[in-house]
């Protein structure tokens, strides 16, 4: 029987693991605040993926061709998959899946503000792929190096799939831009509506983000909000030019001295209103999630009852070797 290690010794071991850029793995001792922070981060990321199915799911029945419909279904299915990978990672920290769903539905845990905006036209599907998933990729690529192993591994998988999401969106927009004036106008209109909310996805400016320093020290955030926002703007401006749309910011201009694009101020009051529940679609998104959860209750119960009756068939034994 080994003696229980002292708290300071455990802390030292944890610090040393991070210092050497080694990953924290599920049953390692971690400080309570690290665990709470990771659960919060992963759970709200998972919720964002799950709620993120709705804005685009809205257009599945009205996709303009079978090809576009198949693509959109595959994309929405991926979002569900991303949510599942992430819930699975959160559970390795002691979170409970059903409890996380409960906390989402009751509004005590949140999801990204971007999904509280409506998708008014089919061009929104393209713009979400291009801008919203583009912004998500900026955020997510550094998370592949998160200090928490299961989260980092889920992010590697997710990033591979996001690349398809962004490309299908951009290709959709290119196709519409080759169409009629009305179609080009739809693309411009969708860009106008999603540009600022996409910039908000990176969070408040660094001087208003008190938690960033701790998260960077723990290796669970790798770049500051402003760094990522700048990277996204720099990446996106040439894509907009190529597409032939105008980004709705009169202050957007190349700054030779900085080697970056300058851009206007984000409306943080709007951001706070939307993320805390007063966006155009907050109530609708949660109501839809709750209905899906409740409508599926009988299926979950029936499957459990069936499993309890039928002794599990061990076909795995035949195939295992």
């Amino acid at each position: 029987m080994t003696a229980v290690p002292e708290a300071t010794e455990l802390q030292a071991h944890f610090d040393q693991t991070l210092e050497h850029s080694r990953r924290i793995e599920p049953r390692d001792w971690v400080p309570d605040k690290y665990r709470a922070t990771m659960i919060r981060q992963i759970a709200q990321h998972a919720h964002s993926e799950i709620i993120g199915m709705q804005p685009e799911g809205n257009w599945i029945t009205r996709a303009p061709s079978l090809r576009r419909k198949a693509i959109l279904i595959a994309k929405v299915q991926d979002e569900a998959g991303h949510g599942m990978y992430l819930y699975s990672a959160a559970e390795t920290l002691g979170a409970d899946r059903a409890d996380l769903t409960e906390k989402l539905i009751s509004g005590r845990q949140k999801y990204s503000s971007i999904f509280n905006y409506p998708t008014l036209s089919y061009a929104d599907v393209g713009v979400i792929g291009w801008l919203v998933d583009g912004a998500a990729i900026c955020n997510q690529v550094p998370l592949c190096r998160s200090s928490y192993g299961p989260y980092a591994r889920a992010m590697v998988r997710i990033c591979k799939e996001e690349s398809f999401h962004q490309r299908q969106g951009y290709e959709l927009l290119l196709t519409m831009m080759r169409g009629t004036d009305a179609q080009r106008q739809m693309v411009q209109d969708a860009t106008n509506r999603f540009w600022w909310p996409s910039l908000m996805m990176f969070g408040p400016p660094d001087d208003a983000s008190p938690n960033t320093a701790q998260s960077m020290a723990w290796g669970i955030k790798r770049h500051t909000n402003d760094e990522l926002r700048q990277r996204f703007v720099d990446m996106t401006v040439p894509q907009a030019d190529k597409l032939g749309v105008t980004l709705p910011d009169p202050e957007l201009a190349w700054n030779d001295e900085r080697g970056h694009y300058d851009f206007g101020a984000v409306d943080w009051d709007e951001f706070k209103a939307v993320v805390s529940g007063n966006g155009p679609c907050n109530a609708q998104r949660i109501a839809r999630r709750q209905a899906a959860h409740e409508d599926g209750a009988w299926v979950r119960e029936a499957a459990l009852a069936h499993a309890a009756k039928a002794p599990a068939v061990h076909s795995a034994e035949e195939h295992a070797r």
Partner: protein, 120 residues
Amino acid sequence: MSDFSAEGGHGAVPVSDVPVRPESAHVRADWPLYEVFLRGKRGLNHVHVGSLHAADPQMALRHARDLYTRRNEGVSIWVVAAADITASSPDEKDPFFAPSGDKVYRHPTFYEIPDDVPHM
């Protein structure tokens, strides 16, 4: 007003006043947890890829196919009820693996062989 940060992939969310502790008393029992292992292609071992919930092993296999092999990532899947896995404890990591720590003579580099001995 709580703090916000872009800590998750899809962007900024509140980071204060967010409860994280499970309150299982409020929640009905979920489907049990299964761990999923994939053989990426012939010639490779099965590798752990994650977990999922299912009512029984057959359903776990189906869900594993839908969740972890949407892009031909596997040619064979194992699912194992998480409750059936016995694992070494990270707390006793050092003593548990100590027996192999001091047996350098198990490695080929322990033995000095003159450079001019061929094929060794």
